[in-house]
Structures are given as structure tokens and as C-alpha cells.
Symmetry: C2
Subunit: 299 residues, 2 copies
């Protein structure tokens, strides 16, 4: 079906249906992280480095890199972050900014085929970002809102996604290089947020046949025990066809839900990744499970 | 849409789309529990009592009661278990046996409208169980296999479910009193087990518009960290329209997945049940969460 290939200098990741879900680490993003923002602004990228390594060790297949700091030189910061992360990890990156100049600066230093995050359905944005995507043969995240804002009607959001796919085609960008973000709202603020996204994901898969991603943590904003909500959301989204997410793989509840969903969707052959990750107490990504090792096989 | 009402003498439970998922406690079942089987056979029902109370305290909306012990007087044991459980809890029961005489004995002592578990698509079984369901105005679990066994093709299983619904109609049993079990196989043995069930659940909801249930724990049989697989399976099944399950609500990973799925499906109004259950460390059903209370709101 639809394969979106993203690469670094040495590694390729494929986002696609009937494939293991692609986890894109969300942590390198100063939005809402005051300390990280202050450090990056002052040129201290040690936390960026630590976050990159920790997320890859936790199983991230890709990393999102964002340097959106108010009153800072975002293009320079994003380029530096991209370069740094590529120098210490080999996973492909999602270059994340709402400022086109920052995207340009990040792409200029990137080695491989990046995922450009993002373009919306707004004409002005389409006209600036799509030529950039086409010029670099990149893939792009398409956010399903436009000049009228974010509709609560999944059918309206579907039309926005379709418009972006069609407009991209005019620039020679194939639909398999477009990864649609259906936009996930906090479920605590909007009780229909889940249903909207699930309905949209199904149409994206069945009708538009494009890959999808989202900022998963947003769904649980403001709720207690939020990692359980985020993990369960990801499983339900995967059940409806979502193929990647920008998320935090360091939280076991979130990561385990994705890995279990891969098993249940039939995309973890012979449950090999699941068994490997859960084989022994303290095994890969399962630091908290040693305590109940003896009960594992009982129901 | 479709409401299946089950009751005890004092309590009603409604299984339905757009409603909170109904958790049916699985524990009162000697299959694979040698100690429980031996005790029940000798007339010691103390463990049945403890399991009933523990499951209701953990949040079970209903309890499944099974007394299937080889070489024992199953009708007498099942009747005694049903009577005992009804004397100490007020939740409605699922009366569970593959022996029609045992079902009859259980129903005879039951107060309220039970869920009879189960009937298959085999003609001989249909002809014996459906009159019993009709006579008592009960609801019934319809298992989607027939004389030819369990098909791996969800479309074949759908046809079996449809046959049972139509045959039940001949006996005056409305389709809202039929809860279809799509039959869940262990995912470790059959990698397509999840996909089969999800596809079938979707057709059951959209085309046949009937409620559904399953023995959820079976899906994770033989795998490490199985509660995470079972919980994730339930979330994905709910995302595809499943409305109840026979499961173990005592395991937090399983129960939390169901409660989170209710939130995300928009069936936990204002997230009220979720917030109540997770409000404070050590609160209802959240015994293990006190340790990380301070991190709850961080991503």
C-alpha cells in the first residue's frame, strides 16, 4: 500500500499500513519546557543531546526537532539542533517549525530525506512550504486545518487533507510523501475529540490512502494518570489506521500500548519485538516490570 | 441504538453502543483453576464468594458464573454458585455452561433477567438453548462458530452470527437480546486473530447492529506481560465497536485500558469516572499509582 520513506545519512524508516507503527520522539521541543527554551536560547544544547539519546534508547524510530522559542533566532537554533542530533544519533528526523525560514535552515543542514513538519491547508502556507518539499524531495506533515480554523467535523478536516494532497500533486509531490495529522484535541476539554480523530483516520486510510501522524500527548492534557489515556488513545488510533505519532517513547505505558497494538494489528511478526522487549525483568524498555516477573503468565 | 438489558433482583445493566463498556468478571470459572475446581467439587464455595466480592469491588458491572468441572454434577454446582453469588452481590450475572441442563438449573434459581452464556450456530444447540432463552425472557451470548468449527474468515463468522440472530427471531427473541461473541484466539498462536475480530466487530455493529462480548484474556495466552496485551486488545476492540467483555477487572492494566477507552470513545461524560478513579493516590482501583502521584500531570 502506501509507504512513506524518511531517511538519515545511514538509516531508512518506512511509515506504512501493515507495518510496525513509527514512534517519533516528541521531546526536543521547547514549547511548554521553559528550562529547555532558556538553555537553547543561551546556546546550551546539552539537554537536546540527552533527550535525543534517551528517546532513541527508549525505541524512538525517528525524532522530531523543534526550536520554537519566542524572540530567538529560530532558523539558527533549529539548524544547530538538527546538526547536533544528526551527529549523535542515526534516526531520521522530523524538522518541526511553523516558520518557513526555520524549516529552510533545518533542511539546508539535514543529511538524508527529512519529514518536514508541517504544512496546513492555508493557501499562503501551501504556496511557501510545498515548493520547499518538492525542491528537496522531502516528505511533509499535512495538518488538516485551514484559514477557517480547526473544524469539529471530521468530514471538513478530511476535505482539507484532500486539498493539501491535490495541491501537493501540482508541485509533483506524490501522496505517499504526505503524512496527514488529523489534529488531536484534549479529550478532557472536548469529549468528541477521540471520535472525530478515529473517524477521520479511517477515511484517510480507506479513501485517501495516506499515512497519518499526530501529537499524541495532547489528547490527555489536563487529565490525571495521563500516560494511560495517551497509550490507550494510540492503540485505538492504530485500530483505526494511524501509522505514526509524535509521542514520548520514554513512558512505558505509552510505548507498551504501541508495541501491543502492533502485535494485535498483526504487524509484529511472531510477536518477536514484544517478546524481545518483555523477555526478562529489566529487559529493554521494561525497567519497571521486574517486580512482577513471577506473575507474568497468570491471568 | 441497540440496548441489551440484563438485571438482578435490584440492579439493571445496559450493554449498548454509546454507553460505558460493560465489564463482566471472568474469575468464577474452574476451567484452568485446579484448586477452585477441587474446592467447588467438594462443596467449598469460599473462593467463589471471595472472587465475587473482589471483582465487584474492582468495578465489574456483571459477573460470569461457570461451574464446568469434569465428572461433577455441573447443574447442581452451577445453581448453587448462582444462588450464592446473588446472595452476596447485586450485579446481574452471566450464567455460563456448555451443558443445557446446567444452564436450566442456573436459570431456575436466578432472580432477574440473566445473560445466558452461550448458544453456538450449531443447529442442535440452537434448538435446545433458544427455547430456554425465549421461555425466560433472557438475553444470550451467541458464539460465532457452527458445525464446521471456527472459521478464520471473519465474513464466515459474521454469517454464523447472522444465522443465530435470524433463528432467535423465529423464537421471538429480539436481536437486542443477543450479544455476539466473535471468538478471540490467542494472538501468539495466530497473528491475524486481532484483525479478524476487529473486522467482525465492525460488521456486527454496522450491519447487524448487535452488541458484542468476548473472553478477552484468551488473546494474550502464552505471551509475556500479558495484561498489557489484553488491555490494549480491549481498547482496540472498543474502537471497533465491542460493547462488553468477560475479563478480569482486578488487573489495573486491563481495567484502566477499558476506562481510558470509555473516555476516548466519548462514553465517559466529562471524564467523570476516570477522574474519580484517578483522583488521589490509592483511590478506587488505583492501588499502584501512589508512587508516581507527583508526576501525573507531566508528559
Amino acid at each position: 500500500m502506501t509507504d512513506t520513506i524518511i531517511s538519515s545519512a545511514s538509516k531508512e524508516v518506512v511509515i506504512g499500513f501493515d507495518r510496525p507503527f513509527v514512534m517519533i520522539g516528541e521531546r526536543i521541543n521547547p514549547t511548554g519546557r521553559r528550562l529547555l527554551a532558556a538553555e537553547m536560547k543561551e546556546g546550551d544544547f546539552s539537554r537536546v543531546e540527552a533527550d535525543a539519546i534517551a528517546q532513541v534508547e527508549a525505541g524512538a524510530h525517528m525524532l522530531d526537532v523543534n526550536a520554537g522559542i519566542p524572540l530567538a533566532d529560530e532558523p539558527a537554533l533549529l539548524a544547530r539542533a538538527v546538526k547536533l542530533v544528526q551527529s549523535i544519533t542515526d534516526v531520521p528526523l522530523s524538522i518541526d517549525s511553523s516558520i518557513v525560514e526555520a524549516l529552510e535552515a533545518g533542511i539546508a543542514v539535514y543529511e538524508g530525506k527529512p519529514l518536514i513538519n508541517s504544512v496546513t491547508g492555508e493557501d499562503e502556507v501551501l504556496e511557501r512550504v510545498l515548493p520547499l518539499v518538492a525542491k528537496h524531495g522531502a516528505a511533509v506533515v499535512a495538518i488538516s486545518n485551514d484559514e477557517t480554523g480547526i473544524s469539529e467535523d471530521p468530514d471538513v478536516r478530511f476535505e482539507v487533507a484532500k486539498k493539501i494532497v491535490h495541491r501537493a500533486a501540482d508541485y509533483g509531490i506524490p501522496s505517499h510523501d504526505i503524512v496527514v495529522d488529523p489534529l488531536v484535541m484534549p479529550i478532557g476539554a472536548m469529549g468528541t475529540a477521540g471520535r472525530q480523530v478515529f473517524a477521520l483516520l479511517r477515511r484517510l486510510k480507506e479513501e485517501l490512502q495516506v499515512n497519518s501522524t499526530c501529537g499524541a500527548s495532547n489528547v490527555s492534557f489536563g487529565l490525571p494518570h495521563r500516560h494511560a489515556i495517551t497509550g490507550t488513545f494510540l492503540a485505538m488510533a492504530i485500530a483505526n489506521g494511524m501509522t505514526s505519532a509524535i509521542m514520548n517513547p520514554i513512558h512505558n505505558e505509552v510505548k507498551n500500548a504501541v508495541m501491543a497494538a502492533d502485535v494485535l494489528a498483526g504487524n509484529d511478526r511472531d510477536c518477536a519485538a514484544w517478546i524481545r522487549a518483555n523477555r526478562e525483568p529489566g529487559a529493554e524498555g521494561e525497567g519497571t516490570r521486574g517486580r512482577r516477573g513471577g506473575r507474568r503468565r497468570s491471568s
